[in-house]
């Protein structure tokens, strides 16, 4: 049994190309440069005022970002857990209520379809958040199971509050009980009489929370947070997707569709990627019951690895945009840069890159061939790259419980 509920909120107005989020009346006021883009069909700010101030809000004070466009699915019913455990490559059978875990899922060939998080909201009731639309795949995966799958993307308003002072800002805004909330924990609480779910999760590598509530409470939630700034207690800035891109690469989080081609959108053979090939072998659990792609991944596990998505620090100050990678200066071509940023806090070019292995080993040297412009004239240079096995940037306060009040 599978039920799908059509959302009353997605009545489409033909004149409205992009959907306003429940926070839009406030976002519109804060977004000074009107640099909009579409994120899952929602009108989303790329930048609010200046990228640098938004970036430093995340790294030095506190940032707020509208998460509503993220795909969200409510999974419940007697077979909910079996369904999820057969869907994803990770063993989620031990995920306790009020806990969150990071997951990826594959097609039959063991190639990654998407990544996301599973929230165990209440006993036997889950929320799956994903980067891309997954309803088709979820329904296909539910064949023969007594599970209810409801897309709730539009029924849940969500904000990410991230940065060193995130805990202090939320406490000042009136949230109680966050001191004991551990990383990947969930707290069901109230703010001014309405229900808010707080999870200690994020995409920045720093201390941070995500707030989830009914869209009818969206503006009240927003005002409560911004009130902290207005009262002169803590600084707080809205951030757009461009600033998020910088901190997620610093923190080593991958972006399906940007860092690797997802299996569903792959047409050419060999252009999709397995979890091993994107550095997520650690989430694959072969000891749990059958899951989609298990046999393909078991076969792949025994073969020498051919390529991997790696975190790459690139020397110099020239941005290695779309650069080819070589196993030596002017050597053999072994890969490409997928996404890259300049990290202000580390003063380095950081990138996600797809690199070929040789005989199961990473190349000893990796060089990027960088094309850049000087006053509209193209130049080329070479920069040596270093693979980082750990996130480029993280901070102990990300996992300290209780968090420091600062």
């Amino acid at each position: 049994m599978v039920s799908i509920i059509q959302s009353p909120l997605v009545q489409h107005d033909a004149k409205q190309v992009l959907l306003p989020s429940p926070f839009h009346p406030r976002i519109e006021q804060h977004c000074l440069v009107k640099n909009w883009m579409s994120w899952n069909g929602y009108q989303t700010a790329r930048v609010y005022d200046t990228l640098a101030s938004e970036y430093f809000a995340i790294r030095s004070s506190c940032s707020v970002m509208d998460l509503t466009p993220m795909e969200k699915y409510r999974i419940s019913g007697p077979d909910a857990l079996s369904f999820l455990n057969r869907l994803v490559v990770r063993d989620v059978s031990a995920l306790k209520p009020n806990r969150v875990t990071y997951v990826v899922w594959c097609n039959d060939e063991g190639k990654v379809l998407d990544d996301g998080t599973i929230f165990h909201l209440h006993q036997g009731e889950y929320r799956l958040c994903s980067q891309h639309h997954q309803l088709d795949w979820l329904l296909i995966s539910s064949l023969g199971m007594d599970v209810s799958i409801v897309e709730e993307t539009h029924e849940v308003a969500a904000l990410a509050v991230q940065g060193p002072t995130a805990y202090s800002v939320l406490s000042a805004a009136g949230f109680d009980g966050l001191d004991q909330l551990k990383p990947f924990g969930i707290l069901h609480t109230q703010l001014d009489g309405f229900e808010v779910m707080v999870s200690r999760t994020g995409y920045t590598g720093d201390l941070g929370y995500e707030l989830w509530t009914n869209p009818s409470n969206a503006l009240a939630l927003w005002d409560a947070l911004v009130g902290v700034k207005q009262r002169g207690l803590y600084d707080l800035r809205c951030i757009g997707l461009d600033a998020l891109e910088m901190v997620r690469i610093e923190a080593g989080f991958i972006m399906p569709g940007d860092d690797f081609n997802t299996a569903e959108t792959t047409v050419r053979a060999g252009h999709d990627r397995s979890p091993f090939e994107i550095g997520l072998g650690w989430v694959v659990n072969f000891d749990k019951p059958h899951f989609t792609g298990k046999q393909a991944l078991l076969r792949e596990k025994d073969r020498p690895i051919e390529r991997r998505l790696v975190k790459l620090a690139v020397e110099g100050n020239k941005p290695p945009v779309d650069s080819f990678l070589y196993d030596g200066k002017k050597g053999r071509r072994i890969g490409t840069i997928k996404t890259q940023i300049w990290s202000p806090i580390l003063k380095a070019n950081l990138a996600m890159a797809d690199v070929e292995y040789r005989n199961g080993k990473l190349p000893v040297q990796i060089w990027a061939e960088i094309y850049y412009q000087k006053e509209l004239e193209w130049q080329v240079t070479w920069a040596q790259c270093r693979i980082s096995d750990v996130p480029f940037w993280t901070h102990p306060r990300r996992s300290a419980t209780p968090p420091q009040n600062c």
Partner: protein
């Protein structure tokens, strides 16, 4: 798990293919046990009593496709197999201008000399096409990726037969007509409407297809290929006699057969089948499990989607397997009278298919979940050749009626009698007084066939035999070479290549595949 049990081969379902597979494996020294849910083995090859003293072939009612190689290998004649006398097909005409369609010759008052010549040439040409596909039949269908030597050899033989067996002209013609519909082809060749319809009937009976449906040349060739090996007949004692011979051959090869043992679950651990659980709760260990059930029952019920990859389960789920034929059994107090037909002729295979428009219109109803207003009928009166099937002087008639969709819009419960009446009214037009001769009748709709024979959708062939569900895509790619994604689990029924019909070939091919793989040793 004892070592003896672990060496055991369990076959889920004792249909004709299960029996064939079991016997081959037993002859090769394997210890084989068949678990059959019904009280009798044979599956679609059965004889049933539908009224006191009246017996008839339960599902399949004409023997035309039992592989001669299997008959020889399994010594089925020693085991009592009787084919019965060869019969022709007679297409009935309301004005008595019936057509007789033999293997090479057609005759009938209304048939022009031109059509007679064309018929002989057509049958020879199309039998040559069927012969070309022969290398594909008694082997596992070749994979197109990662072929082994057997696959290369099969494809090599196919290519050779296509190029040098047929010759340039015939090969070109075969490639032209292979994927198209029988309607266009027959219109190119013949003038006589009744002749065209009688040939087209062979292409559509048992399928969700009208004469204009693409792939109908392929289904016709599938039926026609058996003329290479012999003629159609009505076996004495009904099709159950074939099942008895297969069962006897299986037992004398050492196969254990348990009837009334319905399998509830195929037991799987870490992706490997290790036994089965019966509805009674009893568990049986096995080195390998072979399923004679259709693909949906095997994978979605007995294995369960949780043990499979999501898209594999989905692809099994979306295979087309809704039956479209109802079976009417009629007990008669005397022999029906068809004007212009002798008793001997009445004992042949009779068709009510006046023209191809009639067939296409009959099929149109099925597309929209209705039964045919004017159904295509395939009729046999087996009691003429075998009087033991009915009390003295009485007769039984067995009718396959197309089209009777599994998913009838109003549901079969309230439509069963009206469809029976419709069929009888059609026969009455050809055999006046027929309805007054009826003593008893029984209609099996696809829903009944599903329930009685444990076949999803009540589909004769365990799934449509369209080109996209044939060869290396039968039932789906990834399970088309008798082995499956579950280690130690094999398919041996009509869901596997080359599909339906009482051929025994899927069973034969599965056994060869299992022996070649050395599985379960």
């Amino acid at each position: 798990m004892t070592s003896a049990a672990s060496k055991q081969v369990i076959i889920v379902g004792g249909g004709h293919n299960g029996l064939v597979c079991a016997t081959y494996l037993a002859l090769a020294g394997r210890k084989v046990q068949i678990l059959e849910a019904r009280d009798e083995v044979g599956g679609g090859a059965s004889t049933t009593s539908f009224a006191e003293g009246y017996k008839v072939s339960g599902l399949a009612h004409i023997l035309y496709s039992l592989s001669p190689k299997i008959c020889t290998d399994l010594k089925l004649e020693t085991a009592g197999l009787q084919r019965g006398a060869a019969i022709d097909t007679i297409a009935l005409d309301r004005d008595g201008q019936h057509l007789t369609l033999g293997v090479d010759e057609a005759s009938g008052a209304g048939l022009s000399q031109q059509d007679r010549v064309a018929y002989t040439a057509f049958k020879q040409e199309f039998r040559n096409y069927a012969r070309t596909l022969e290398p594909l039949m008694m082997n596992k269908p070749p994979r197109l990726k990662d072929m082994d030597r057997t696959d290369l050899l099969t494809l090599g033989k196919l290519g050779w037969k296509l190029r040098f067996g047929l010759g340039t002209r015939s090969m070109r013609e075969f490639l032209r007509v292979g994927g198209i519909n029988i309607y266009d082809v027959l219109n190119e060749v013949f003038d006589n409407a009744q002749l065209k319809a009688a040939i087209a009937a062979d292409a559509v009976i048992g399928h969700h297809m009208g004469p204009r449906t693409p792939s109908t040349v392929l289904t016709y060739l599938n039926r026609l290929r058996w003329e290479i090996h012999g003629q159609q007949s009505l076996p004495p004692g009904g099709m159950g006699q074939i099942a008895n011979a297969l069962s006897k051959a299986a037992k004398s090869a050492g196969v254990t057969i348990r009837t009334g043992a319905k399998v509830q679950k195929i037991l799987i651990d870490a992706g490997k089948a290790y036994g089965v659980q019966l509805h009674s709760g009893e568990r049986l260990d096995a080195a390998i499990v072979i399923s004679n059930a259709d693909a949906k029952i095997t994978f979605l019920e007995l294995v369960g989607a949780l043990e499979l990859d999501a898209m594999f389960a989905q692809r099994i789920h979306t295979t087309r397997s809704r039956g479209n034929v109802a079976k009417l059994h009629v007990a008669l107090d005397s022999l029906p009278q068809v004007s212009g037909l002798s008793t001997q002729q009445l004992g042949q295979r009779l068709l009510i298919a006046p023209d191809m428009r009639y067939l296409e219109h009959a099929f149109n109803h099925a597309k929209y979940g209705e039964y045919s207003e004017h159904p295509l009928l395939e009729i046999t009166v087996p009691s003429i050749a075998d009087p033991t099937l009915a009390p003295d002087g009485h007769h039984v008639m067995s009718i396959s009626a197309c089209f009777a969709p599994y998913s009838l819009k109003q549901g079969w419960e309230r439509q069963r009698e009206s469809f029976s009446d419709k069929i009888i009214a059609v026969v009455e037009r050809y055999a006046p007084g027929f309805s007054t001769q009826i003593v008893a009748r029984e209609l099996l709709t696809p829903v009944d066939i599903e329930a009685q024979y444990n076949i999803t959708g009540g589909h004769w062939h365990h799934g449509e035999m369209t080109i996209d569900q044939s060869f290396m895509m039968r039932p789906i790619h990834g399970a088309a070479q008798y082995d499956t994604p579950i280690a130690g689990l094999f398919l041996c029924g009509a869901a596997a290549h080359p599909g339906g019909g009482v051929t025994g070939i899927p069973g034969h091919n599965a056994a060869q595949r299992i022996l070649a793989m050395g599985a379960g040793l």
